[in-house]
Structure formats: C-alpha cells, structure tokens
C-alpha cells in the first residue's frame, strides 16, 4: 500500500481531531431474549448478551452466561444485531425534500468521486431517529445513483449530534451508475460513452498510481540521482487509485442485464477493483456470471416500483441470488419522493415472505452488508468483541404487527418506546 507523505499527515490530523471531540457514551447493558439471533451460528433460546464499554463481552445461553451485578437488564422475545441499511441516502437526502436539504446528487460534472458523504450528512434529520426506531443502527449513506460517479458513501451509526461522533467509516464506497439515469445532455449521452469514460478514468488512475509508486522508490544507492517527484495532489485520481487498489469498494448501480454485463466486463478488465453490484433489478438473469465473478449484490428495495429500468424486477430476486450462492444485502435505496426513507426491516420482510428463510432475510440487513462493506469485524452479528448494537422486538421482527421495543448502539439504549 503506497501512500504519499501528505496523505499520511492528513490521516494523522484526522485521528487527532477525533481524539479531542467529546466521546460518545460507551455504555453497558445486558440483554435477555427468548430467541437470540446472533447471525454467527444458530439462534440461541433464552440467550444473553453482555455489553460493557460499548462492546459485546459475552454472548450465550442464559444458563452459561451470567449477568454481572449492577448491570441494567433489558428483556425481549427476540433480539437481533442492530440492523444495517447497506445503501441509502438518509441524512443526505433530507425529509423536507427541498433544494436546501437535498445533497445526494451534484449535477455539475458526471465524475466526482471526491465528493464526501461526511461533508453532507445531517445526523439531526428527523428520518435518522425515525428509521432507528425500527431497529436500524448503522446506515451506508451518501451519494445517490444518477451520475456516472456521483460521490462517496459513508458508514454511519444512527446516533450523535455531529457526523464525527457517528461515523465508523468515512469513505465506505464510491458510487457509480450505468444506465439511463446517468445519461446527460452532453457526456455521457449513451451507455457506450459511460463505460468508455469510466475506463478512461480508471486507466488515468493506473498511471497516477505508477507515478506514486515511482516517487516512493528510494534513489539508487551510490548515485546522485534524486527520487522521482510525486505527482501533484489530485483528489479525484487519489480516490480512483484507492479504488484500483481495492481499498474502497466501487458500488455500481446497474439494473438492466446489459448494464450488469458491463459491470462484469469492467471487473474482468480491472481485476483489482472491489466491485459491488448495486440495485440489480435483472440480476436474476445473470446469477452464474455474478457468482463466477465473485461480485456481491446490494439489492434494490424489495418494494421498489416496477417501471422504467426496474420494470422486470421481482420480489423473489433475493431468494434467487441466495440460491445461487451470491452474497445479498437489501438496501433502503434512494427515493426522490415518497417514502422519503425506506425501512430495510420492511423491505427484508417482504423478501422473507417470498422465498428467503427467516435467517437468510435477516442476514441481508445484518451480517451480509457488514461483510460486503468490510466492517464485519465491528458490526453485523452478536459476537464477543463486536460493537454492542442490538435491536429488541416483541415478536417476529418481520411481522407488521410486531413492535421494536428497544434499540441499543454501543451499549447505549437509544430508544425504548415501542415502535
């Protein structure tokens, strides 16, 4: 991994900044659930989870998992890991849908990977607390589909007054789009132009990486030759170089089979890219190809409307992809109108009613998005050492008439009002 000195300095400065901010409460609590879905093995009957200093310190059956004295205990019929929305625009595309609170897409240029979600996220948007009340604890939010490369996403916990308190990964992905929604009056005006522009940018990034590599090489010993000058800083090329190094996933929104095929073609040409297929309404037509290419899917919301490039969508797609052995997360997505924020719990519920088992459906909004986005070491399942993020329910979480009775993030009880 090659980094320029200036990038290292920036990273150090960012860390220093985080250190002086007021800390989020890293709290303690114990959970007792009649059925505990850990997403790290079979569900545990009469399960207990202990959270201390914000982390899970014990998980297991009540009989073998004693609860330390003085710890507050919350009980529920069912407990699951805090739910994860693998791709949405909550906090960036605001509730009011006015010009002033819509930051999910910027139209001045088709390729802007340097636009950061953390520079746009509003933790105080009412939709943040609203979706959290159903058990969602982490969102992968930021720029929406609709431009060739619209910008970045960030992984953010649903807590805190500032994004700096809430963020767990400032650059969780770069968002790209293939298909008619990324068409512009000028370039790119066609699908072919879209792909050629992307390829050109990635090739430019390859060259940029070569210059970085050269500059990092020490000069030959015993000569007067100076080391090569590093290239001038270019935010855009830096990001694209990170994509090429596979450090950040490239989330490509594509729906038609032809556009999904283009995604696979790009993967063939730029094998070091960490590609994720976003949306994928016709992905069920290319399961073997997606599986062979090792491309995971952040699937469109199950209840997305079936018109335009979504016209061939199916509410059974998640089950078809899972049957083919493909990693599937289900997203809340972006809505230009209503519902302004989809609830991934409800979207996964419809998938659970249409071919996915309960555990598989729960995985699409817990451990699988965590794995796809590279944060499975912290969230997505209830295991010792992971963050104390838990959702409590008074019945089957997928049933309409069940309530979410408590939401816990890093051990702190965020809400206890049944929702």
């Amino acid at each position: 991994m090659i980094r320029t000195r200036s990038v290292r300095t920036l990273a150090a400065a960012a860390l220093a900044l985080v250190a002086i901010l007021p800390g989020i409460a890293l709290a303690q609590v114990a959970i007792k659930a009649k059925t505990l879905h850990t997403m790290a093995g079979p569900p545990i009957t009469d399960g207990v989870v202990i959270i201390q200093d914000g982390k899970i310190t014990a998980v297991g059956p009540a009989a073998t998992t004693p609860i330390p004295d003085g710890l507050r205990v919350l009980e529920a019929a069912i407990a699951t890991p805090g739910l994860i929305d693998a791709r949405c625009t909550i906090g960036v595309s605001g509730l009011l849908n006015q010009k002033q609170d819509q930051d999910q897409i910027e139209r001045s240029a088709p390729i802007q990977p340097e636009l950061r979600a953390i520079d746009a996220y509003n933790p105080l948007d009412p939709l943040v607390g609203y979706v959290r009340s159903f058990g969602i604890t982490t969102i992968n939010t930021g720029h929406a589909p609709g431009e060739l490369i619209s910008g970045q996403t960030a992984l953010i916990k649903l807590r805190g007054t500032t994004v700096d308190e809430a963020v767990i990964m400032a650059v969780s992905g770069v968002a790209a789009t293939l298909g008619p929604s990324a068409q512009r009056d000028s370039a790119p005006g066609t699908r072919a132009k879209m792909v050629s522009m992307l390829r050109e940018q990635l090739i430019k990034a390859r060259d940029y990486q070569k210059s970085l590599d050269k500059a990092a090489q020490p000069s030959a010993p015993g000569t007067d030759a100076k080391p090569a000058e590093p290239p001038a800083r270019d935010l855009r090329l830096e990001l694209l170089a990170q994509l090429l190094r596979g450090e950040i996933p490239l989330l490509i929104s594509a729906n038609r089979a032809q556009d999904i095929a283009s995604v696979l073609r790009l993967k063939e040409e730029f094998g070091t890219l960490r590609l994720v297929l976003d949306s994928g309404s016709e992905a069920y037509l290319l399961t073997a190809e997606l599986k062979a290419a090792g491309v995971p899917v952040i699937l469109h919301p199950t209840m997305v409307r079936a018109f335009g490039e979504m016209e061939n969508m199916s509410i059974e797609t998640a089950s078809k992809l899972r049957a083919a052995g493909i990693d599937v997360a289900i997203q809340g997505g972006f809505e230009s109108y209503v519902p302004k924020a989809r609830i991934v719990l409800f979207e996964a519920a419809i998938a659970a009613a249409n071919g996915l088992s309960f555990e598989e459906a729960l995985a699409t909004i817990t451990i699988t998005p965590a794995r796809i986005l590279g944060v499975a070491d912290r969230i997505g399942s209830l295991e010792v050492g992971k963050d104390g993020d838990i959702a409590l329910y008074n019945g089957d979480p997928f049933e309409y008439t069940t309530h979410c009775i408590a939401v816990i993030i890093s051990g702190e009880v965020m809400s206890e009002k049944p929702r």
Binding site: S181, A306, M313, V338
Partner: protein, 457 residues
Amino acid sequence: MPIQSRFTAALLPVAMLALLAGLAPAQVAPVAVVGAHIIPITGPEIPRGVLIVHNGKIVAVGDESAVTIPADATRIDAVGKFIMPGLVDTHIHIGGVGGGDRSSTLAPEVRVLDSINVMDSGFRRAVAGGLTTVNIMPGSGHLMSGQTIYTKLRQPGGNPPKRIEDLFIKGDDGKPMWGLKMANGTNMLGEPPFSGTRGKSAALVRERFIKAQEYKAKIAAANGDPEKLPARDLGLEAMVEVLDGKRIVHHHTHRTDDIMTVLRLKKEFGFRVVLHHVSEAWKIADEIAAAKVPVSAIVIDSPGGKLEAADLVIETGGVLEKAGVNVAFHTDDWITDCRLFLRSAGLAVRAGMSRPGALRALTLAGAEMLDLQSRVGSLEAGKDADFIILSADPLSVYAKVEQTWVEGGKVFDRSLESDRLFSTGGFGAGRDQEPYMCCVQGTGFVFGGKQWGTAGQ
C-alpha cells in the same frame, strides 16, 4: 296508443324473456368455498366457515355447521386459508389515467374514463393484490382534475376487459358511478392559469361553485322548457351533480389548514366529500369527526418527501378511529403498490388501530365512500360475490393473495404462472411506460411547475 296494443307491447318483452329463459344454457352451478377462516367485516370472524356464491352474488356465509352446501355446488377446499371481501381502493391511478391538462386548473368536464387503458399491467397487479373495486382518479396537479370512475376489476365472460365500459359500475339510473377529484395544498400551485397561493386556490374553487349554483338555478327556472334551458356545459353539469349530492367529491388534502379549508368549502356549498391522504388529520381528528366527514388515508413507510407530508404518520388510522371518524385506506398506486394494499392494515394496527377497524378500512369503509356499501365491502348474502382467498391472516406479512373473485368469477389465481408473474414481478411483468405518480418525473420531483430534488431521467 290504444289500450290493446299497449298491453301487447307490454307483454312482448315478457314473452321474449320467457322464450330466452327456455333457450338459455344451464345456469352455472353455485360455488362453495369451504373450511376457511372467514372475515365478513360485518359480524364476528368465523374460524371455520362456508361461503356460497351463485349468479354473481353471495348466497350464504356462516359457520360450516350452520350453512347447507347445495348438492350441485362446486366445492373449493379452503381449510387453513383466510377469506375476506375483495378490497376496495378509493384512490388509484392505474391504466395510464389522465385528467385535466395545463390549460386550466379547473377541469370538471374532463372524464378519466376517456383516458384509461384497461390492458395496462396495473390492472393485473391490482387483482394480484386482492383489489376488486377501485376508484380510478386523475391526479392532484389541479384544483379540479376531473371526473373519476368507479370500476369493478371484472373479467366479462371470463375474458380480460377490452374497454373501460367492461368495468363500469352502473347506478340505479343506469349511468356509470363516478366522483369528482379535487385537491388543495401545494401540488397544484403554479403560474396562471394555475393558482399561486392557497388563498387563490380557494377563491377559484368558490367562484366555480357559485357558477354551478347559478347554472343549477337556471335549469330549475327553465322548468323543462328546452327554450329556456341554458346551453349544456359539461363541467357545470358535473358540478350540479355534486351540489345535488349525487356525485361525491374526492378531495386530496394534507395539512391541517388545507383540511379545514375543505371543510369550510363543504359548509358553504353543501357538497359530499371524502378527505384523501390527510397526512396531518391526526392533529385535528376531533374537528374532522365533528364535521362527520369520512377519510381515506394513505399509509406510507416514512414521513416527508414534501413539506405538507412532513408530519405524516402511520398512527393516523388509529387516531382517527378513536375520534370516531370513518376511515378507509387507499394505495394511490403507484405511490404505494396496489399489490401490497394489505400492508396498510398491518402497519395501521401496528401503530394503534383496531384489527376490525383496519380490515374494515380495506373494504366496507371504502365502499361507503363510493356509495357502494349496499353492493360490496362485506361478505353478506345478497352482496356481490367479490372475495379473496389468502394463504394466511391478512395482517401477516407472509399472507399471499391466492385467488381474487369478482361477481362470482375468478379474476386472479396465483397458481397460474401468468397470474403469479403480476404478484411477484419478474421478466415481462412491467411495461416501459410513464406511470402516474404525482409528482415524479424520472428521478426528479416536480410540482407547482418547479423542479425540486434531483433532476434528470
């Protein structure tokens, strides 16, 4: 006419009928759906019941121990299933429906029946969702966007409908049954001839209602004399029906003050009205109850999307129910998907509505808001044989609509691959068309002639 020939003239049709009856093919046998959990809506739920339908009507419904099944009945074994009336959607935009255009914000002369494509895939999605009676509406981009049409999602002779007339519901006067769509708030604000403010909106509406009152008075004064009758005015004719209480106003409205404006206008002109969507009705439930005006509410997964829906909540059904308001739900397809209409009841119960109230809001309450309560909306002897067979409890996310029946004919059967496609979606289920969904164009959001949010295709 001399008495003798009048008598003959009267006898002739009777004789012909008798002749026809003799020549008529054997009557279709009754259908008995046996063993299901039946939800009649009017009356307690029946854990194991029998529903008998014949000649398009419900003949009997009750506990299996209490209902005699005719010997010649075709039996459908429905043990383990749930049966309820076909769903009534008071607000839907399927069929590529169009209403008024940009030439005027008041278009009461425009009839949506002149615009609807009955072969649109939306009709197949609707029956897949268990809908049997729907009020197809124009949009909310006008103060008066046009005349709605009440339809049955029937298949005449077992064949898909070919024209909108195939779906008409005829009133006692032989005319199709229909309403008038009105709207206030922000969706219809724009440059002239559209109103720019709420005050202007109400003024334009009042002026038109006053014209309608004058037109009505002129007709009355003419006393049937064709020389004295005013020239026909299609829009004013429809509005006179509104003034006479024959045509119901279906009024889109969200904010508390906009709701109160509708009630104020109702008080002034005396029209019958159903309040639609009503994002903020929960804040003035008592006022709505006092006005004795029914509400057709929309259930959406989250608030926001526009200012007047910023305080939309799923608790609306329960709050209004407790205040004594008559509550129905609607899909506003494609704002919410008509395949998923049952969701509205499940979410409403989650948020505090009673089970019977929520199930009624999918059926009989909507029927009442269309003046169709004597014909549909509950499983009672004498009513139309419109019903749905579900695989599980209607409030369960796992429930599938297995069959949908309209007037004793099956119009949807999930076991048929061609029907199932419209339930689940899949290749070929959609069509590349512009659906009506106020106020989305592509990925942008347009109302009041302005572009908000994202732009682009």
